[in-house]
Each structure stands twice: as C-alpha cells, then as structure tokens.
C-alpha cells in the first residue's frame, strides 16, 4: 500500500519554476518583463498598487445645502475613477473665491458619487514583486502573475524572516562572525551572505546587523529570537528549524560545495495558509538541457533519499532500506508503520512514515 510522505526539496541540480504573483487585493499596474527575458534575483517582475482606506465625504453641510435638498450634479467636479492629488476640488457650489468647496484630502481615486456623498479611496500603496532568484521568464499572465524558470541547486528550508538576498556567500570563520567585531574587518562582511555552522544567537544577529551583512543561513535559533530576526533588514534562513543545534549534513555539504557562487535567499516566513517555503537557490549553468524538475508527490519506495524530521534523528538523511508495514514500537512507545532508513554512517534506524521527508527525486531518476 503506497504512502506519500511530505517533501522537503534538497537537490544539487534541478529545474525550478516559480510563479510570482501580486498579493490579494493589489491591482496590477505593470509586468515589465516579457517571456524569455532574463531576470536577476532583485528584478521587479510585477508592479501593483494596493488601494487605501475609503473616505465617505458628505456633500450637504460642506456645500451649505440643507439636508434633504438635492445636490446639483454640476457642483461635482470629478468623475468616478478620477485619480486626484491632494487639494483638487471635488465639489464646489458656485464659482467665486468664497464659494463653498470640498477638496481632496490626499492622493485618491474617486470610487462612487452618491446623491449625498462622494466615496474616495485614499493613498494607494505601491507594491513591487521581485523575482527572488535569477532566471528566465517563461510565462506572463496579465499584470498579476509571472513564471520564472532557472537551473541549479535547491534547498527548501524550515523558516525565513520574510526578506530576500542575493549574492556570493561564504562560511563563517572558525570563531564565528562574533570574532569579526573588530572594526578593521567590517568591510569584509558587508553585503555578504554568511553560512553559519552554529545556531543563530542574539549576539550573532547584532554583529551581522552592525556589519550590514546581506543574509544569514543558519541551522536554527531559539524561537524567542523570532521577532528580532523579523525586524532585521538582512535575509535570514533557518535550514533545520527552531532550537536546531546543527545543520543537516546533506544541506551543509550542498552549501559547502557551492561556496563562492551567488546564492539567492528567498526567506519566506512559512504561513499556515500559504504553500510558499523559504528556499536557497544556487544558479548553475544548465549545459544546454534542463535537468528534471523536483518530484514532490511520490510514494515512498526502497532506495529513495530521505531526511528525518523528528528527534532523535532530526535532520539526518539516508536511504530507504525497507518499508515496514507492521507497526513497530518507537522510543516513545507509540507503535507505527514506517521504514528502515540507512543513515550516512551506515547505521539503520526505524522512522515512522509521518517523520520521513522526501528530498525531491525518485531513485530511478537520480
């Protein structure tokens, strides 16, 4: 009986396609790139505007008309959907300098003209959507959606602080980046993305902020630092989760192998209602043909590369040796079906199905 575990993609070479969309409630204004155009990670691929609050502007009192008396339509100086700057006349009774008038309070759009009021929407907010990784535009849908394709190494992470960063990355020095608090070394980290071997601490965050680091990749941090991390300008990605002491070997090896190349950090903060995941992406030359896209919805089979999600094997990766359909006791005492997993050091451990994550490639396609 097939089981379909969740997937957490960790692939040294794959083709990724990501759709970039305007957030709900934002009106699309522009999609600057056409199909086949190349984009950088920080390219703005969609522009939009989120309209602000509505204002209900009564007409009678400001124009000196008794309540119940009609408003002459000629007094209304604007039309529906007019975009106005502050101070523009919305309505005016008469034409003299002292004639009663109503002025636009802010930048606004006229939404409705009722017999007794105007309804305007003020202060639209500009919204830009960036590519977040370098690639090629493969589809454009109106002014609200763009698909970008690229080839390279992909790592899906556990958590991000909602920022993006792109650039070359390096490993932290042996003593950690705290050791670089020396002023003379400040320029060496500015604008860089740093791979941390240890959990992110308050001190590390402080040093990284002062040194204007562009991004941090860490195995984990304590949940109490979340708000502080969210407030940073730099992008922060946790590869393994909260409280994680060390980075999964498979993730660390992949990142270490690509040091020096530019990396894109799309540090999306996972949300309950969004499928977007924080991702690390290292663009590679495709060599002419596209490598296979990730295979995410696969039944668990012998030979698959997997990672384990819960203690005591959290973050360890290995290969499925055998599917166990007879419930087996865990250390916790629960009895569940699962699989024997051969870890990197050769040791075979049992993990329940629910704690197994696929890495994105079926054995036959590796």
């Amino acid at each position: 009986m097939p089981f379909y575990p969740n997937a957490n993609l960790i692939l040294p070479m794959t083709t990724i396609r990501r759709e970039r969309k305007l957030p709900p409630g934002v009106n699309g204004l522009d999609a600057p790139f056409r199909v086949d155009a190349s984009v950088d990670a920080d390219s703005i691929v969609l522009r939009g505007a989120r309209a602000g609050d509505y204002r209900l502007i009564p007409l009678h009192a400001p124009l000196g008309v008794r309540r119940g008396d009609p408003i002459d339509t000629a007094w209304i100086k604007v039309g529906v959907n007019d975009q106005l700057e502050p101070g523009r006349v919305l309505a005016e009774r008469g034409s003299g300098r002292r004639s009663p008038r109503i002025l636009a309070p802010d930048n606004c759009i006229v939404r409705r003209i009722d017999p007794d009021r105007l309804i305007i929407q003020v202060n639209p907010e500009d919204i830009d959507v960036r590519a977040t990784f370098p690639g090629t535009v493969t589809n454009v849908t109106g002014k609200s959606s763009v698909q970008i394709e690229s080839v390279g190494a992909l790592i899906q992470a556990a958590w991000g602080n909602g920022k993006i960063a792109f650039g070359p990355y390096r490993e932290e020095p042996e003593g950690g980046i705290q050791a670089l608090a020396d002023e003379s070394l400040v320029t060496s980290l500015r604008g860089q993305i740093i791979l941390l071997k240890r959990p992110l601490t308050r001190q590390t965050l402080d040093v990284a902020r002062v040194q204007e680091v562009a991004g941090l990749i860490a195995p984990g941090m304590r949940a109490e630092l979340r708000m502080m991390a969210l407030a940073q300008q730099m992008a922060i990605v946790l590869t393994d989760g909260f409280g994680a002491e060390q980075m999964s070997q498979i993730v660390y090896n992949l990142l270490r192998d690509n040091i020096g190349r530019p990396i894109a950090l799309d540090a999306v903060e996972p949300s309950r209602w969004s499928s977007d995941r924080p991702e690390l992406f290292v663009k590679m030359p495709s060599g002419g043909s596209l490598p296979p896209a990730p295979e995410r919805d696969q039944p668990l089979t012998v030979g698959m590369a997997v990672r384990l999600a819960r203690a005591p094997y959290r973050g360890l990766s290995g290969t499925v040796k055998r599917l166990i359909e007879t419930p087996r006791a865990l250390d916790s005492g629960l009895r569940l079906t699962g699989a024997d997993i051969q870890l990197g050091d050769g040791k075979i451990v049992f993990a329940p199905i629910a704690n197994i994550e696929l890495l994105g490639r079926a054995p036959s396609s590796r």
């Binding site: 009986m1 097939p2 379909y4 575990p5 969740n6 709900p24 409630g25 609050d53 509505y54 204002r55 209900l56 939404r111 409705r112 309804i119 556990a158 958590w159 304590r222 949940a223 109490e224 979340r226 989760g241 909260f242 409280g243 996972p270 309950r272 209602w273 499928s275 995410r296 919805d297 999600a309 819960r310 203690a311 005591p312 094997y313 359909e325 007879t326 419930p327 865990l330 250390d331 916790s332 005492g333 629960l334 009895r335 569940l336 079906t337 699962g338 993990a351 329940p352 199905i353 629910a354 704690n355």
Partner: protein, 626 residues
C-alpha cells in the same frame, strides 16, 4: 435539513478532510445492521503542489478498496450508486481542515444577540475578524473600512427579538450594504438570523449587492436562544465556501449527497443523539484535539453546545496554542527541565511540521502536556456558554466523555488516554470514558441526516471504544489513603483495593461487562456530594477498566520538578499497571487496532463484506496526526 430519500441505502462511504489527514470509513449492512467495515487515511492534499483534495481522498479510498476487496473507485472516480453493487450507495463528506471562513458578526447588544451569534458561529470553522454592534464607537466610515480590510467571506447578522428593534438594525444594515457594494472581487455572503419581521427588508436591501441567506432568529426573545436553524445554514454556507475556495472540494461537494458539512456539525448531531439517551446523566461531551483546532461539543441538560477554538491545536496551531495557554502551563506537566523557550521551540517545529509524530519519550511527554493544556483551555471557553455550573466549578458528571483526535487515541495504552482526559477535564463523580479512534463521529453525524439507523446501530455495535468508568471524588484526602473499593464482577468474583492518597488505580473490567462497585471514602473526599459513606453503583467496563482517581479535585500537579519526576510517571504507570498484571495482554481486547494491527484480517461475515466491526475492529493503518 430537507433530504431526499431515494433507494435503500446499504454501503456508505464517508470522508472527513482534516488539516493533516483525510480519513475515510466504509459502513455497510451486516445481517441487517449497519456496521463499520473498515477505515483508512492519507495526507490531505489541499495545498500545492497538488492543491486538490480528491487526490488524498482517492489514496485513502484505494487503501479501503485493498482492505475490503471492493471496487470503490472506477477510472479515478468514486464508485457511488453503482447498480452492480460493487461500489457504495452513498458518500458523505465532512471537513475541518483548510482555511477557515472569515466572518464579520453584526448584531445589536453585545450580551444578547451578539453572544448568541458568537455561539452559532462556534459550530463552524471560522476566523471572526470583526464585530459591529450598537455599542461600536467607530464611525460608519471606520466600520466600512474595517469590513473591507478584513475581506470577509461571510457577514453574519443577528439582532433584535422577533418584532423588536427595527431602526437601529436598519442602520447597521446600511453599513453592511455600503461595505458589500465597495468590496472588490468576490463579495461576502450575508446570513441573516435576526428579527424575523425584517427578513424581507434585509433581502431587498442587501440582495442587490450580494447573496443573502436567512435563518430563524437566534434570539427570538430575550430569554430564548435558538441556534439550530442558524447553525444549519452556517453549515451550508461553509460547504459552499469550501467548494469555492479549495481545489477539489467542488467535486467532493458534487459527489456528497449533503455537500461538505463542517465536521463540528457532525459532532453536534451525534452528541445530541447521545444526550437524549436515558443514561446520559447531566450530559455528554466530546473533545477532539486536532492539528488546527480543538472542538468541544457537549449536550448539557439536553441543550447542545459546540465550541471550536481555531487558535488551539497540536500541529498547525501549536504556536498560537502555546501563546494562548502559556509555555509555563505546558512545562508544568513535564518530568524534565524544559524552559519556556524550549516549549516554544517545540511548538514552532510542530507548526512547521504538523504531520510528524513524537518519536522520543521526551517529545511524547511534551505532546501529552500540550494536549492536557489545550483541552483545559478549550473547556474553559466552552463552559462559558453552558450557563449554570456545578458546585465548585467542577465538570458535571457527564456520561460519556469521548476523546477524539490522534493525540488522545494514538497513545501507548488506553489507560493513558483515560488519564489525559481526567487530567485535562477533571470530571467529578462517576464518568464513562470513551474514545473515537476510528473517526466515526464525524462520519455518523453526516450520515444521520440520510440514514439515522446507521448512527444508532454503529454506536450500539461498539463504533466507539469503551475506555471504562472513572470514579473521581472531590476534595483531598487527609490521611494516607483516599478510598477503599470493592469490585464485584458479574461472575461473582470480588476484588478489593485500597487507593492511596494522590494516586490512581485501575481495576480490570473488560469492555461489555458490568460490575458493582462499592467505594468507601476516606476523610477529606466526597463523591456525588456525599462524604465518608459506602456508596455502591454499577459501572461499565472498557479497555482501561475502572479508574479510581484518588488524587482528588481540584487536581494538584506538583510545582517542583523533583516531585513531578516521581508523581507523573507514577500516575502514568498506575493507569496501566493493574490491567497489565491481571491480563498480561493489555491491548488484547476492545482496544484500538490502529496502533497494533499489522494488516487487515480477512473475515467473511456477509456477502461482499470482509471485515465486521462487530467481530473485529477495523484495520487501521498507522497514522499521522489529524
């Protein structure tokens, strides 16, 4: 609910779409009686890259087909109403997972109509984002912006007794109309359940802007509350919302005779039925601990109550749950030193990986700690609506209390399930405890609208797992012992035990058997309002047996770690020890197979039926969390 009755119904397939798992159950008639035949589950596939719940549904149904040998699907579709008799006659779907319906509540008086409106909304999975009332000090402009910025799917309007308030209600309706007219994109649906004299005006006024549904007034008189009609309409609105908002639900809605019902609605139906039974005592209660929500559904003095806490859960909602209940309250159940930050780390990782299960003993302990506190917090909310409470604020003697959800049913021992319920709910008196390890309540509540016999017959045939009976005195014993108990079995055998102070003890009494229990309380304790007297009563057995809780009420959990390290393992051990010693096979009878069963055991009981719940429990696949 008006339901069309067609051909006789025999085979029924149900699906309950949870946040993590989609559970399917096959019921059929065996010797003229509805029985649970088999069940299965698969991960819910509402999120990308699949984004279609029917994929997970078919995976689960394929497991059922393999277990039962029935052709439940044809060409990737459910085989419903197949005249050849190979498929099922009826399919019913319920859902609790996915994004809740965003709602704005509009009413007149906060303590009257709005309170009733909130309780009615408590029966579906909603995110209540704003409330408008007469007491609202915001301007109309601010109210309109508040509605628009919250992008509601539903505006639920209550207020006014029948033929009561008129003008104040119309003023609120004008605001709703203005907001609806300005809403870009999909406009919110309006459900009106206020002053019935205004129904036609409401339809005329708001019908120009959006879809308007009406239901009977939730508060027809100041001292009268009627939630049933509004809750039923809310269930329909929820089903329509699921169909329009989540991939695959439109197909499910088409296949399911009743559309997609909220799971909590099913709970409510079953609790109403159980509450009508003669032995219901003060009422019945079911608590379902899920990944995203904790639902408490009760019938108290024959009045139904449903309370859903979308901020409490063991997976998706674990972080918000810890925020609500406090990490310190979770840590007070642990036998190892865990800082509040470590509890929060655990919660965050559960939220990021909601389908995972605790693999180490320490993590299982954390899961149990969270479960206790989630239930406690959800109960506090639920009880606000129940009105009159028992003396001392204790939970009244409910029969039964039912636990549902993987956290309660996927445990190492049925005694542990019983202990978790006792710790969290702290019932007093004599209480029957049951579990719903197969998810039948969600299924039967939906079926009941079409084939009520199935509800009755499946429950009578043991669709729920009997955990046993708990005997829980109030107060605290002042001496070394709490009580001396004598259990007289139907066979005539008698067992006598002394239960020490601050301890529990179980005495074996298998499911389906009864025994006469005599309790002699020590000083400081009382049972059913009586102290220091021999009390004799008849109790029902179950997988955990009879649980004598000598810890008293309110339950005192040691503050200091050293004391907890001794106490909590002792409590856990004591709910397992007696039965283990007595039978040496604690999970051999009447215990969920879900944690034990290897593979389906073919058992021919009727043509076309390979398993019968009457003879053997369903072969559960080991499962992930709901």
């Amino acid at each position: 609910m008006a339901v069309e009755r067609n051909a006789p119904i025999s085979a029924i397939l149900t699906a309950d779409f949870g946040s993590v798992n989609t559970r399917v159950i096959l019921f059929d008639q065996v010797a003229g009686q509805f029985r649970l035949i088999s069940r299965a589950e698969a991960l819910t596939t509402d999120a990308p890259p699949i984004g279609d719940v029917t994929v997970g549904l078919l995976r689960a149904v394929d497991q059922l087909a393999e277990q039962t040998g029935r052709a439940l699907t044809t060409g990737g579709k459910l085989n419903i109403g197949d005249k050849m008799g190979t498929g099922v006659d009826l399919f019913v779907a319920t859902a609790s997972g996915g994004r809740p319906l965003t709602a704005v509540l509009v009413g007149l008086m906060p303590d009257v109509s709005l309170a009733s409106g909130r309780r009615a909304l408590g029966s579906i999975y909603i995110d209540l984002v704003d409330t408008l009332s007469l007491g609202d000090v915001r301007t109309q402009e601010q109210q309109v912006n508040a509605i628009l910025n919250s992008h509601p799917d539903l505006i639920f309007i209550v207020g006014g007794t029948d033929n009561g308030a008129h003008d104040s209600m119309l003023a609120l309706l004008e605001t709703v109309k203005l907001a609806a007219s300005l809403q870009p994109g999909t406009r919110p649906v309006v459900l009106y359940a206020g002053n019935e004299a205004l129904q036609s005006q409401v339809k005329d006024l708001l019908g120009e802007e959006t879809q308007v549904f009406t239901a009977p007034n939730v508060r027809p008189a100041l001292n009268e509350e009627r939630l049933g009609g509004a809750q039923l309409e809310l269930a329909m609105v929820y089903g329509a919302y699921k169909a329009s908002s989540t991939g695959g639900f439109s197909e499910v809605r088409f296949m399911s005779r009743l559309g997609v019902l909220p799971t909590a609605n099913s709970y409510s139906t079953v609790m109403r039925y159980l509450g009508e039974l003669a032995n219901a005592g003060a009422g019945v209660l079911c608590v379902d601990v899920g990944s995203s929500t904790v639902t408490i559904c009760a019938t108290i003095r024959r009045q139904p109550f449903v309370s859903i806490r979308p901020d409490l859960g063991l997976g998706h909602s674990a972080v918000s749950a810890v925020d609500q209940i406090g990490a310190k309250n979770v840590a007070r159940w642990l036998t190892y030193a865990a800082s509040e930050v470590e509890v929060l780390d655990y919660a965050w990782n559960k939220t990021l990986h909601p389908a995972t299960v605790p693999q180490s003993a320490a993590e299982l302990e954390m899961e149990y700690a969270l479960t206790r506190e989630l239930i406690r917090s959800a109960l506090d909310t639920a009880r606000e609506a129940w009105g009159r409470s028992e003396r001392g604020g204790y939970l009244p003697a409910l029969r039964p209390i039912i636990g549902a959800g993987a956290a309660l049913s996927q445990v190492v021992d049925p005694g542990v399930s019983a202990l978790l319920l006792l710790d969290a709910l702290q019932p007093v008196g004599v209480t029957e405890l049951k579990l719903d390890p197969y998810g039948v309540i969600a299924a039967l509540g939906g079926i009941a609208y079409l084939e009520p016999r199935a509800l009755v017959q499946v429950l009578e045939a043991g669709g729920l797992l009997d955990l046993g009976t708990a005997i829980c005195p109030t107060g605290h014993a002042t001496g070394a012992n709490a009580m001396t108990v004598t259990v007289k079995y139907e066979s005539g055998r008698t067992v006598q035990r002394t239960i020490a102070r601050d301890s529990l003890r179980t005495i074996e009494l298998p499911s389906g058997q009864k025994a006469t229990v005599t309790v002699k309380l020590e000083r400081g304790l009382s049972l059913n309002g009586r102290r220091n007297r021999n009390q004799t009563f008849t109790v029902e057995g179950g997988a955990a047996g009879i649980v004598f809780d000598g810890r008293g009420r309110p339950l005192i959990v040691p503050d200091d770690l050293a004391n907890r390290k001794e106490t909590i393992p002792r409590w856990l051990e004591s709910v397992r020890a007696e039965r283990t010693a007595a039978t040496n096979a604690p999970l051999s009878k009447g215990v969920p197979v879900m944690v034990e069963a290897a593979s389906p055991v073919p058992m021919e009981t009727a043509p076309g039926v390979r398993r019968s719940s009457a003879a053997a429990r369903p072969a559960d696949k080991p499962s992930t969390r709901k």
